[in-house]
């Protein structure tokens, strides 16, 4: 895979920001969309736009075929058998809230425990806090050790018959740590707990095979993998989804409705009330084709290579602190760091002045920031179109920060 060739597919990258060529290193927040995706959404809007699942006319059928085709494509990408367990949502956040609401509120009770980790994104923390508030269950967290990985001995210790849910990210959005989901699932299942995995930072970057992870729910989002914003997904085990109450009520999720009661549609439609994100699903479908075409092995190899280069180059700077694993093979394609006690918002602003876009802040992971003893970090996150010269531009801009604040 040649990132220089890939770049040409992303028109947004070819612009000057503050008088410098744009260097986009904020892919953990959102990726850009290739021309193929932009063109297909435009084509869909111009030729096929219609609502899905309810119109007998030709456009309605075309839209439904494309929408359901996206589901089939996504199921293949995730390695799941069939599409019944695959629910479209608006975001990974909504997916996690769906589980915490529709499963959590009916299965948790006083004295039960929800086991999260210290490296969770707020979406996999607050959604469970809400469920616990309503049910009397309590939250516990697996600590992160000094190397930025989960303390698995503590996981073993915290896991008990009281544990009903283990909620864990596949890849940390701050540390880049790839968590051992299969091991976590096997142990959780032994005490009868379900495992809810947040895959938002994993699916865009590596081949995913949900059956081998053995989790019970897996959430992800489109916009971090070349698709538009507004579409996410939740995969769940069919027998669990079957017996769950719906999340939202409305059109499409019902079989029949009377004034005082309703019967619900089959899964996954039971969880897709209202008009779904249709053109976004069409965009996601094209994005999956685009990424499949690059090859997942090549994507992962490229990210390991660029992350390794970034870690090496950052290590040349004095007074740099890198958070999370420093072996690129063991992490996703991102590096969080602080430099010289300069506040990340100052770093972010100075870098932007040089055309370099990074994320500076708490990354929606305040408990982890407290654990690391910082208010915020800088994060450079890579994708298929990032090159070594992007990393060089980052390091040069960081040198300017040091000069300005030195």
């Amino acid at each position: 895979m040649d990132p220089q060739a890939v770049r040409k597919d992303f028109p947004v990258l070819f612009q000057q920001v503050n008088g410098h060529p744009l260097v986009y290193l904020d892919n953990g927040a959102t990726s850009h969309r290739p021309l193929a995706v932009i063109d297909e959404i435009k084509r869909f809007e111009e030729e096929d736009n219609s609502n899905v699942h309810r119109s007998v006319h030709t456009l309605g059928q075309r839209a439904t075929e494309l929408f359901e085709g996206a589901r089939t494509k996504l199921a293949a990408l995730l390695g799941v058998p069939g599409t019944n367990g695959l629910i479209f949502t608006k975001s990974a956040t909504e997916s996690l809230n769906l589980v915490a609401y529709a499963w959590g509120r009916h299965h948790l009770s006083e004295g039960d425990e929800v086991l999260i980790t210290e490296m969770e994104h707020h979406s996999n923390i607050v959604s469970w806090q809400l469920a616990c508030k309503d049910t009397g269950a309590v939250i516990k967290a697996v600590p992160v050790d000094d190397n930025g990985v989960l303390d698995m001995a503590e996981y073993d210790r915290l896991l008990s018959n009281k544990t009903k849910v283990v909620a864990v990210c596949h890849v940390s959005n701050v540390l880049g740590t790839i968590n051992p989901i299969a091991e976590i699932s096997a142990k959780a299942h032994r005490v009868g707990a379900i495992v809810v995995c947040d895959g938002a930072q994993a699916v865009p970057h590596m081949a995913i095979d949900i059956p081998s992870l053995d989790c019970d729910f897996y959430a992800g989002t489109g916009h971090k993998m070349c698709a538009p914003t507004g579409i996410g997904f939740l995969w769940g085990r069919e027998h669990i989804l079957e017996e769950m109450e719906p999340f939202h009520g409305g059109g499409d999720m019902i079989l029949d409705v009377w004034i005082d009661h309703s019967s619900y549609n089959e899964i996954p439609y039971k969880f897709e009330a209202g008009t779904p994100p249709i053109s976004q699903a069409v965009g996601l479908s094209t994005a999956i084709d685009y990424l499949n075409n690059l090859g997942w092995e090549a994507i992962r190899r490229h990210e390991i290579e660029i992350t390794r280069y970034a870690l090496d180059r950052l290590a040349e700077l004095p007074d740099i602190t890198v958070y999370g694993p420093t072996d690129a093979e063991l992490k996703g394609g991102l590096v969080s760091f602080n430099i010289d006690d300069i506040h990340p918002h100052d770093v972010g602003t100075i870098l932007d002045g040089k055309g370099v876009a990074i994320r500076a802040g708490h990354h929606c992971a305040k408990p982890l920031m407290r654990k690391l003893g910082v208010g915020a970090t800088n994060r450079a996150s890579f994708y298929i179109y990032n090159t070594h010269s992007d990393v060089d531009a980052l390091v040069d801009a960081l040198e300017s920060c040091r000069k300005m604040f030195g």
Binding site: P344, H345, G361, A376
Partner: protein, 147 residues
């Protein structure tokens, strides 16, 4: 670079590196903790008020250079002002940061150095953190003691 140099003026960096009045005031008449959830800037502001006049101001905090320099400069300006004068200065400063023509910009003195922040909408909140905390503190104080 000119925009950046406009933002990070020497006087701002000086206050950031060597903050003034950065100390807790025990039993202060006003003590408030406030933060910018977006950035993680946070401050504890302490104000002593006697006979309607600001007699002492101190702060503790952490955050970006803009937030910390702005509150450091504020503490120097507020000491000795009457509450009414202090509120007026705070409002003049806020008007400047929001790009409105302030009536009495001369009163701002060194604070004019923070004008460069205007060009960075996401950073304006950083510059205002100390000032909004002060205004809120005065309001709480007035409610307690009668204005």
């Amino acid at each position: 670079m000119s925009d950046l140099e406009d933002l990070y003026k020497e006087v701002i960096l000086d206050h950031y590196r060597t903050p003034r009045n950065r100390a807790k005031i025990e039993n202060a008449d006003v003590h408030l903790h406030r933060d910018n959830p977006l950035c993680g800037d946070e401050i504890d502001l302490y104000v002593d008020i006697e006979d309607g006049r600001v007699t002492n101001v101190g702060f503790e905090g952490r955050g970006c250079s803009i937030s910390q320099a702005s509150v450091s400069m504020m503490t120097e300006k507020l000491k000795g002002l009457s509450i009414a004068e202090a509120e007026e200065l705070a409002n003049t400063f806020k008007s400047m940061m929001q790009g409105e023509a302030a009536e009495d910009e001369d009163a701002l003195g060194d604070l004019l150095a923070l004008q460069g922040v205007q060009k960075y909408p996401v950073r304006i909140k950083c510059a205002l953190l100390g000032w909004n905390t002060f205004l809120e503190g005065v309001k709480v104080h007035n409610e307690k003691h009668g204005a």
